[in-house]
Symmetry: D3
């Protein structure tokens, strides 16, 4: 049952880079409001904004052995996504693992559990989005799997999917939809820029989006 | 049932400014330890300290339509207070709405749900106190109300009440009590300044507040 | 039942200082993964890293009287540890108490409840690890005890135990084990420094820790 | 600041009795989906279904003194509603207080905190809706108020409002709206009885409520 | 984006019936400890034990329109599985919808949100596993989808997968694995029956499972 | 570090039986409101009321190996108390382990994690107080300890301490205080019986406990 899938398909590098620029909120909207991980997944430091191909890890509670196995599977630009097989908040990941992952070109970690050595990770500039921060150590006794589909923080992540993460949280984009989502996201950014200027000039959303008639029709009363 | 109350009474500008200077902890104490919103309401960035008149919003879960309606009702110095009609953590509010609200002179948002575009809001200096951060988008399908009494994060907020918010959380002051609360808060600040010096000089609270006799009377034993 | 124990044994100052340098994650591992407080205990500002002797406080919910009593018992370098007798998130502690505690040489507060005046505490550089931030005021009506064993955030803390706290959380070290834990922690730091270099050079943990044979034996399949 | 309001208006007994029969879900819908207390308020035993006039209690955390004061204010048919001034889960209420309350004709307790002596309360048939069950004892040191407006479990309750509670939770009805809400609730029950028969006969809601056209118009695709 | 998939494959009826008999804990173990929904999913009444084919529903927060759509897709023996598109605890489902679903032969509902009319549902014998109980009503304004893959309570559910639910919670079995899982589950039940007798006779697990040598080898000390 | 302490002192059987009769709320009060475990510890079925000597278990998250080890240490009348070394909600314990424990005369389990096979355990009459119910299986890979002091659900439990558990939760009594606590608890029960009659006759607590003068002195106003 415990497998390491060594070859996974990845999206194109420039598509991934484009999604990183768009950020989580825009990408999430551009793909029809899907793919967001639970809001308890928070970055350990502010202002990180990354995207990368998911190398997924299914790991037992309190056992970080599979992180070592996963690091060997990393290619530059990848992001590790760890889902414990049952709820856990132990600190699976710290500065030594981050050093090793960075040596492989890893761009970040998404973990539905805890991380530790926060100060070191911050200084190294290695971003982590986690359920919590915990120094609790783990063991290396039980196998899990690498590069199998996982449900992480209530979202399905398949190996090679594109992970986008920033101060707003984490979003997953299906690898095969990455290019079309990027196109939609960029269109959205252009449109938003236009709207931003109009709104900044004092035009109301009620008028910009022509909401007044529909509000009246629904029965809104001004008193 | 869905109404927009267009005219609300507000406290005087200098009273509101005075309450902002006093801050949440002092104001809360000055009005008899009342009016605090639940402690899960946290600022999206540190060091903001504001006060303003509440423009209240009752909105359905996952539906931010009423925010557009509310923005038209804003006067310079107002703070929007959004309470969903049932628990929700969607990201009702982002940088476009903030741009629009700032164009109306709005000083902040208190929302018992989620906010997004955190990095942009931080750069714009638009403070938000929210239950969580979430990129989850919302719809515009169901009406709510603007400027009706709401219960937000376990506190009653009436339109025109003064909202005080800082790193310690959020406190609501009844509009009609704003002036007397300010007087009490200022008196408290003066008294605290005096105590601060005494304590810094090494005098114990036990002596400053003359607690020893009452502690002994209650039965405290030193061993 | 309410007592103040006035004389407690403390660990040696240089042992305590050494533990502070090692930090929470290393100390926790060095003593066999024991002693960590619950992960909801978070610092009110980043980058604080301290250690000190525990002056413990057992206090009723919503009553901070015993903090005043405890401050008199502080010696330079001590850390206060407050456990409410039932779950509470009130703001027991703010800048006045911090001023008084600092005048006694106190290095921080660990509180399984709330703290307030966060901005002031941050500016004063007085670190607090707490369950939450809350401006909610407390009363002074009911006794508790000082320097008795307490369970704080699911960990047993005895007066005089060494508290280590940083961005990763809070760990308690038994006073009588402090020296041996420090020795183990320092050995661990040296070993980690070595490993860090090796991992940074691109050697995999799988090879550094010789994990491949055991993984195969457990049945891990590469596909 | 601590007051006991001795005379409050109550709704008519037969209106209250009617609301009890309708139950929480129906009453909540009948008044426009308002007035529900947070869903964490659960009954200590199943199958209780009551309504009564609210005698409200604002009490400090961990202090049940005001319950004794409130019991004197009870009239037959009343329901006590206790809101702590800050979050608390202590067991404010047990079988002795229930014995006393029952002697006054009290029909139940709504408490945004804990209750205890659950087995006894169940045997006595005294229903309680609470945040939790906890044996944690409380003190009698600090005043609160009786029959003032309170926010209980995120809902505003005014003295004399009608409380309706059953297995679905707790709902509050404004006293002055009680009669009209009852009329609407009864109409709803009649209509539901009709629908129930139709649906039981196999007619689909899609047809009964004529939803197909609107679903198609909104863009629902059958594939 | 909103679709209703009308034809889905289902597992064989006797396989489903067999899985129901085995129950959640056994099925979960038999398929390698996979497929469990989050433990907050609790039955509204005790002693229900069912299995059925999943008819999945992706619905907006606070909007139960898609339940009406889904009921038309039900075949006898199906179980509805509703996942809101963002966290919600509203009461999407009550006795009228249950009446309609039962008329189609539906055997239960799994909902990562709230249910209401608990007393009626209990009397009707219609089992629901939900995140909470809430009378909060919902609207019918926004589309979702029926019979698409959903993540419900942190588990992936595909239309036609077999849902097993009892007092221990809810487990999902891939449709294509249902038969082999049943075989493994039955084998497990037989083996457990044997073990149960041996253990009841006083033989220790340490001996029955021959654990002593491995415990000693790992370093367990008896003192 | 992993040890099994084979000989522990226990309280006298009739003292334990007496504490069981008194129940949790009374025992907790009788020993000065100490010793209560966190209120999230709930019984899997109603109406169980037991007391026994604690056989403690410190176990890794997701690993139930030590339960097998602990069962060998049980004497008739003992209660197992399992504290995971970090937060966990897996189902460590089901009907096979219960069968084995019952064969040794075990009277119940207190576990700060999950239990499963709830229906079977209920039918067997084996009471469990747990943090949650979860079918999630565990492994047998990592050692823990038996009969060492543990912190379980925020309370310190030492091997041989008396555990009292009923519908109100779980309380721990120090072994060496068990007899004196029983004496105090019985006195309390007698006194309560007297008060119960007085209150049932309609005498108010205000009068029975002579509270009126002190309330007035504190400043309570009747309006």
């Amino acid at each position: 049952m415990s497998v390491v899938v060594q070859h996974i398909a990845r999206a194109e590098a420039q598509v991934i880079a484009g999604l990183a620029e768009c950020g989580v909120a825009t990408v999430h909207e551009a793909q029809g409001r899907r793919g967001l991980l639970a809001s308890y997944m928070r970055p350990i430091f502010a202002e990180a904004q990354v995207a990368g191909s998911a190398v997924t890890i299914s790991a037992p509670p309190g056992d970080n052995w599979m992180l070592h196995v996963a690091i060997e599977q990393l290619q530059p630009g990848d992001i590790m996504v760890l889902a414990p097989t049952s709820p856990c908040e132990d600190g699976y990941f710290g500065d030594l693992l981050a050093t090793s992952a960075m040596a492989r070109g890893c761009k970040g970690l998404i973990i539905d559990a805890g991380a530790r050595d926060i100060r070191d990770l911050t200084r190294m500039g290695f971003p982590v989005w986690s359920k919590c921060i915990s120094a609790q150590g783990t063991v290396k006794e039980t196998l899990g799997s690498v590069n199998v589909p996982v449900v992480c923080a209530n979202a399905l992540v398949q190996p090679g999917d594109v992970i986008v993460a920033d101060d707003d949280g984490v979003c997953v984009v299906r690898r095969e939809e990455a290019e079309s989502v990027l196109t939609a996201a960029r269109a959205r950014m252009v449109a938003e820029e236009e709207k931003r200027k109009t709104l900044a000039a004092g035009v109301l959303g009620l008028d910009l989006y022509k909401m007044r008639a529909r509000l009246a029709e629904k029965g809104l009363k001004y008193v």
